[in-house]
């Protein structure tokens, strides 16, 4: 009984504080609105009252400015000390591939760069150099595919993206 009374008191006190806040009282510092309960990505049970309409609801202009979602980009390769053993091993093959390209040996370069990709599919440099090897072999369609992959994985690296763009232009000039 005592507890209920205290709770009620506290509830009214909270209401009062909220009213003070809303009316712009400056003696109390504003508090952030409580965050709603969050669940893991897409793993919440849907409510049963949902309309059975399978087609998505028509898009409407929002009544208030919509929250801007964070744009996600693939991060550049993490620092060496944070890379997996597979990723570190792939660096050896990646370097071999670059060395073969310098000596104009595209087939040898592709052979080791494919191994590098299998070990670490997240390293955009490997796709970039594979595209270089295919350019050397005069195969524009494969060069273009690997250039696109390089673009996806090197998005966060401005210098790398510059190279990818210039590579794309060279590919477009290939017949």
């Amino acid at each position: 009984m005592e507890l209920k009374k205290y709770c009620l008191l506290f509830k009214w006190a909270a209401m009062g504080m909220a009213l003070i806040f809303l009316t712009g009282c400056s003696i109390l510092a504003p508090k952030p609105a409580p965050k709603p309960e969050k669940t893991e990505v897409g793993r919440h049970l849907p409510p049963k009252e949902i309309s059975p309409e399978p087609i998505p609801k028509p898009m409407e202009e929002p009544s208030v400015p919509k929250p801007l979602p964070p744009k996600r980009e693939r991060p550049a390769e993490p620092p060496v000390d944070q890379q997996t053993p597979m990723a570190l091993a792939s660096v050896t093959f990646s370097r071999q591939g670059q060395a073969y390209l310098k000596t104009n040996k595209p087939d040898e370069a592709i052979r080791v760069l494919e191994r590098a990709v299998n070990l670490n599919p997240r390293n955009g440099e490997n796709y970039f150099y594979l595209a270089e090897a295919w350019i050397m072999k005069g195969n524009a369609s494969q060069a273009r595919e690997f250039n696109r992959l390089a673009e996806i994985y090197m998005k966060a690296d401005p210098e790398g993206m510059g190279r990818v763009q210039s590579q794309k232009e060279r590919i477009n000039k290939l017949k």
Binding site: C7, A18, V41, H44, K57, K66, R111, P121
Partner: protein, 747 residues
């Protein structure tokens, strides 16, 4: 008459020499095996591989090629020498530090610095024999040490460089012995005669054949110099039998018996091989070391008597123990893959070329993955039969079958292919030849096709319905009758809901299902029908595995690659095959599908994977067809795609689902391949956005208004744009009140 006969013989010889001298079988190799610091290993699989490569455990420090010592803290290995167009391996001792089945460091004796990566030579998977089934490695006489030539001459024909191909004394002695015993038993042949007999004549012992042998020997001596004759002899001579295959020529013999090139043979080793020529199987060091040593000593003595070995060296060499390389059997591996590969190879080369020109064919197969896949399938099928004896069949040809394919998604490398339970019983390669319905394993392609119109939070009708198909009623069912009547896009795929999927297909148009099937290179009819969405189109398992590569490979479809390189006998590359890729969908859609399929594993039809010990990020899809005729699981990580199919060839029911029949095999397989588990998941590509969504309203959550929210990912081009209309707060006061209610939920 005699002149005519001689002319005929000479012409026959010329014809023989004009062409190729010997048929050399092509060798088919696996891929190389990598060991690098930080790599997790499966020691039993690695040890099996080393055993197949001919490395034998020794108790002391490995000191010769082919020796190894394994402990919990290190693998010490003395590498074989190996040369290929892309892999030069010198014989050297290597120390691989281990801790908790993980490589800590690698140190090579032939390098100053610590080598970051050790590349173990590829395994010979198969030899592509002609009808003679001979193994041979050609040598030229200039490469051979003098003591080897002396040993051979001492053992077989010490006067080789002095006579003219025939020794009358030897012939008379043989003739006398043969007449005395009234049968042809004694040879007494010179090296030239032996070459004539082995290379040009059939093995029967008759007087007429002996006469021909003498004539041919004479012609050989007339036409060729001594070195050429000796070289031909050394390449031709028979050194014994290894199973169904014969070892021919000194090059192959030195590799087989001493694991080294003939150029590197010691005096003692040369004498062992020379001694073998007389009776290869009796004097084989693998069969009777004592007899072999005695014969070796006879040859050394003959070398000494002929002045080719000093007394001191003779005593020294005689005292050396005979130490042959460990016996290495040549067994065919990955037989279904070999059949598949042969199909690919015969489009490049004729069967005759493959069996005679000694090509080296380097493939993508990883024998550790192959071995793990074969074991996992065998164990899984036996487990199913043990759990349900009704699945057992009396006739092994009708027994429960399965197939496994493992590929690398970005390059399409086929790492393993198992086309059936027992190649000896059935050579039908189910991995590439079987056409089966994929069932729900096809659904991801339907959901992918729908991504332009639907999002993961779109709600789908999942209630029982009857559809009219060609005037006939069709009532698909969900696996569980009590399924939710309305279900989200994400959950419908995770739980593999049939009704929701059929409604989805109708919603976007059935022709989109045909279109997506064709995009992925499945054959689809012109007139679409609704059950296609549930996987009633027949597919080959390899095509399905390949199609799944698109999801972890940023939307690109790789060509399934089995051959990497073909080299000629001189080691020169004559054919290179590279990964070729084709873009089928956007990286963002591929990523979104992978995210949806992670839920299949997290809390959908494949959720038991975690209990089976697969705790790292995996996506995949189960599949079960009508009456459980087929059970599938296709699962993947960023590094591997693996497909498992289980079923009967005659379409009998296996009375199990993809989750209960195929999934455990997949889990068994993946758990044995720690070297392919990076533990990472795919990073989100450009074009993916994460939004906070109202669980009830399925629209963008209003902060402070929507009581239950969740994060969901969307394609940038198809994302909710509207704020939740179910929870519109009328004022800031209401927002705050909602927030307070959150803090004090008990009031």
């Amino acid at each position: 008459m005699t002149i005519l006969y001689l002319a005929n013989l000479t012409e026959g010889m010329d014809k023989r020499f004009a062409g190729r001298l010997w048929d050399l079988p092509s060798k088919i190799y696996s891929d190389i095996t990598l060991l690098y610091p930080g790599q997790a290993l499966n020691p039993p699989l690695l040890l099996e591989k080393l055993d197949r490569l001919g490395y034998r455990a020794v108790s002391g420090t490995p000191s010769r090629p082919g020796e190894m010592r394994f402990s919990k803290t290190a693998l010490e290995i003395y590498l074989h020498e190996f040369h290929s167009p892309f892999h030069e391996q010198q014989s050297a001792s290597v120390w691989v530090g281990l801790k908790d089945s993980r490589v800590t460091s690698i140190t090579r004796s032939d390098m100053d610095t610590k080598g970051a990566i050790l590349e173990l030579e590829p395994e010979v998977l198969m030899l592509y024999y002609g009808p003679d089934r001979e193994r041979r490695q050609l040598i030229s006489i200039g490469q051979l040490p003098g003591h080897l030539l002396h040993a051979v001459m001492a053992a077989e024909d010490h006067g080789f460089y002095d006579h003219s191909g025939i020794q009358i004394r030897g012939i008379l002695r043989a003739l006398f012995t043969n007449l005395k015993e009234w049968e042809i038993s004694q040879g007494g042949s010179t090296i030239t005669q032996q070459l004539a007999k082995n290379y040009f004549l059939t093995p029967e012992r008759t007087l007429s054949r002996k006469f021909k042998e003498l004539l041919i020997a004479g012609i050989l001596e007339y036409k060729f110099d001594k070195d050429t004759i000796l070289e031909m002899y050394l390449n031709e001579i028979y050194f014994g039998q290894e199973g169904p295959v014969s070892i021919n020529g000194i090059g192959e013999a030195s590799r087989f018996f001493f694991d080294k090139s003939a150029a590197d043979l010691s005096v003692s080793e040369s004498a062992v091989l020379a001694g073998l020529i007389k009776a290869p199987n009796s004097f084989s060091p693998h069969r009777n070391l004592e007899r072999c040593t005695a014969r070796r000593n006879d040859v050394l003595e003959a070398m000494h008597k002929n002045g080719w070995l000093t007394a001191e060296s003779f005593e020294e060499e005689k005292a050396r123990p005979v130490k042959p390389a460990p016996y290495r059997g040549y067994h065919q591996q990955a037989p279904y893959f070999m059949d598949y590969l042969t199909g690919q190879l015969t489009s490049l080369y004729s069967r005759e070329t493959l069996s005679s020109e000694g090509l080296s064919i380097f493939t993508t197969i990883d024998t550790e993955v192959q071995s793990a896949a074969e074991k996992a399938l065998k164990k899984g099928l036996e487990r199913l039969e043990a759990a349900n004896p009704a699945l057992k069949r009396q006739n092994p040809g009708q027994s429960l079958q399965g197939a496994v394919i493992v590929m690398q998604p970005k390059t399409g490398y086929i790492l393993a292919m198992v086309g059936g339970r027992d190649y000896g019983v059935s050579q039908f390669n189910r991995a590439v030849q079987a056409r089966r319905q994929p069932g729900s394993a096809f659904k991801p392609f339907v959901y992918l096709a729908a991504l332009d119109q639907y999002t993961p939070v779109s709600m789908l009708d999942n209630s029982p319905q009857t559809f009219m198909v060609n005037g006939q009623p069709w009532t698909p069912k969900n696996y569980y009758a009590q399924a939710e009547p309305v279900i989200s896009f994400r959950k419908a795929l995770a739980q593999s809901q049939n009704l929701a999927t059929v409604n989805l297909a109708y919603g976007m148009g059935l022709e989109r299902v045909t279109q997506i099937a064709r995009t992925f290179h499945f054959s689809a009819p012109d007139d679409p029908y609704p059950s296609m969405a549930l996987g009633t189109l027949e597919v080959e398992p390899l095509s399905l595995a390949r199609a799944y590569c698109v999801f972890p490979a940023d939307g690109v479809l790789p060509f399934p690659l089995s051959i990497r390189e073909v080299a000629d006998t001189g080691g020169k590359t004559i054919e290179s095959r590279h990964a070729t890729i084709e873009r089928l969908t956007t990286p963002a859609k591929a990523y979104l599908m992978s995210d949806l399929m992670r839920d299949v594993v997290r809390d959908g039809t494949a959720r038991s994977l975690k209990q089976m010990g697969v705790t790292w990020p995996v996506a995949g899809k189960t599949g079960t067809t009508n009456d459980s005729q087929d059970a599938w699981f296709v699962g993947y990580t960023p590094n591997l795609v693996a497909l498992v199919w289980v079923g009967f060839d005659n379409n009998d029911s296996i009375k199990a689902t993809g989750a209960t029949a195929a999934l455990p095999i997949w889990a068994d397989l993946m758990k044995t391949l720690p070297q392919y588990v990076s533990g990472e998941w795919l990073p989100p590509p450009p074009g993916i956005e994460t939004l906070t969504i109202c669980v009830d309203g399925r629209e963008i959550a209003r902060e402070g208004c929507c009581p239950r929210v969740m994060e969901e990912i969307f394609l940038s081009e198809n994302r909710p744009e509207t704020l939740c209309r179910q929870h519109e707060c009328s004022s800031n006061l209401e927002k705050v009140w909602n927030g307070i209610k959150k803090i004090l939920p008990s009031f």
